[in-house]
Symmetry: C2
Subunit: 249 residues, 2 copies
């Protein structure tokens, strides 16, 4: 049997589990989780991706797998879906897109436990978990029940997003999950016409917050049309610099 | 007593209630709700703003009222806070910022009913309600229990945001609340250096969706540094063209 981390049974064959979290929705958490998983795979690691965002599971679309139905192996275990060199599973495959999931806490937790423990993940170096946005009960329960190795927090540069990112960081600290660091997404925009830079959502706040909270700053991802086009089109762009910084975890 | 709309008692003194909703978080729903309220007030209407976003009440910050405590009148009714020519109330004033609210559905609904019916709104032409993002149970319950005159849906131009906007529209139609139309926020970006335009999040999707779904298109709000700076700084910019289009409701 796997080593028990404070009462959270390990997942056999999975060496490290990394949560990707954010305080607020719409900061690019899922896009970053997908690119982190692909970045780690590009370095030669065996990688899985679990979409635990119960409010808006977007991994199926980001990988170009919308509407796919996972298969059962020997009637019990669930086979993850393979694409772009990783294996993936999402609560979006289990619950029809138009079913509201918000209040059904106990039911949702059951489904997430199933995704975690009943999927035939096989041997993985990393399992990246795309967490639900926010710092409420659902996130806390997940952080307590999943044997996380560490967490990456995604924020945009605005003060309001950083307030939420701090809450997320404090939540992980409360359940003794190490935080690898903060990524600043939509950090600046380089005009494709004249090359000048605009800090539409501000700039540099995440680096300052990381220093204040004593954790690493994992890099900046610019606001870029290609990131939006590729991620929404289901062919993820493995965004350059920060992914390699993160991939070095 | 006020006229009952399908079992939802009216709020005495309030002529029209407009919900501002979005499918996904981070599209600028709260910023738009605040600007709509200020836009309506600038046209001479008496306007209130109710922040019902239980997941991330941001109206206190957007109005520069963070940390304010509402006062009780004659020990029972709650006095709304007045600023920028409107009166406002937020669930953020009632629940400390760091209390997770996600699973406590019944408790939250009780608090929202209190905000709706026990606040001394006085005589208002419009009460603008900033709804929680998403199309789950909380949104549905609110749409059923609040005597809404109509709803405005905020979306960004990306396909994924529009899929959610459609869900929101369908939800309002299910509970027979008229939808005034869709606003496209972050619709394009004009480079402050060279004046050229970039459609970072795409462009025009909301107009097409509005036509397909048979509802009005209320206008485009550009991605603009001033909107972010002013709204996050607590001094809302009454964003130009579309607000007047909406304000004409
Ligand atoms: N750096 C970026 N540049 C441009 N668009 C981005 C970037 N990061 C995310 N996006 C876009 O922003 C939207 C929200 O991203 P998503 O990953 O769904 O956010 P979250 O998971 O935080 O809600 C998507 O349309 C995505 O393509
Ligand atoms: N048109 C815009 N241009 C620039 N920034 C914007 C615009 N609309 C919203 N924002 C910024 O985007 C962030 C999210 O907006 P918010 O209104 O909180 O979204 P939501 O209520 O949908 O979560 C805020 O920092 C806000 O200032
Ligand atoms: Zn330019």
């Amino acid at each position: 049997a796997g080593v028990q981390l404070g009462g959270k049974p390990e997942i056999p064959g999975v060496r490290a589990i990394v949560a990707v979290a954010s305080g607020k929705g719409g900061v690019g958490k899922s896009t970053t989780a997908v690119n982190l998983a692909l970045g780690l795979a590009a370095l030669g690691h065996k990688v899985g991706l679990l979409d635990a965002d119960i409010y808006g599971p977007s991994v199926p679309r980001l990988l170009g797998l919308s509407g796919s139905k996972p298969q059962l192996i020997d009637g019990k275990r669930i086979a993850p879906l393979a694409k772009w060199g990783i294996v993936a599973m999402s609560i979006g495959f289990m619950v029809p897109e138009d079913t509201p999931t918000i209040w059904r806490g106990p039911m949702v937790m059951g489904a997430l436990e199933q995704l975690l423990r009943e999927v035939a993940w096989g041997d993985l170096d990393f399992l990246v978990v795309d967490m639900p946005p926010g710092t409420g009960d659902a996130q806390l329960t997940l952080a307590q029940r999943v044997p996380l190795t560490g967490a990456v927090i995604v924020s945009t540069p605005q003060d309001i997003a950083l307030i939420d990112a701090r809450k997320g960081l404090n939540m992980f600290r409360r359940v003794e999950v190490p935080v690898f660091g903060i990524v600043e997404n939509m950090s600046y925009f380089l005009c494709p016409h004249c090359g000048e830079r605009s800090d539409i959502f501000g700039h540099g706040g995440a680096r300052t917050t990381a220093t204040e909270l004593g954790c690493d700053f994992l890099g900046e991802i610019p606001l870029h049309i290609d990131i939006r086009e590729s991620s929404d089109g289901g062919a993820p762009i493995v965004a350059s610099k920060p992914e390699s910084a993160e991939a070095g975890i």
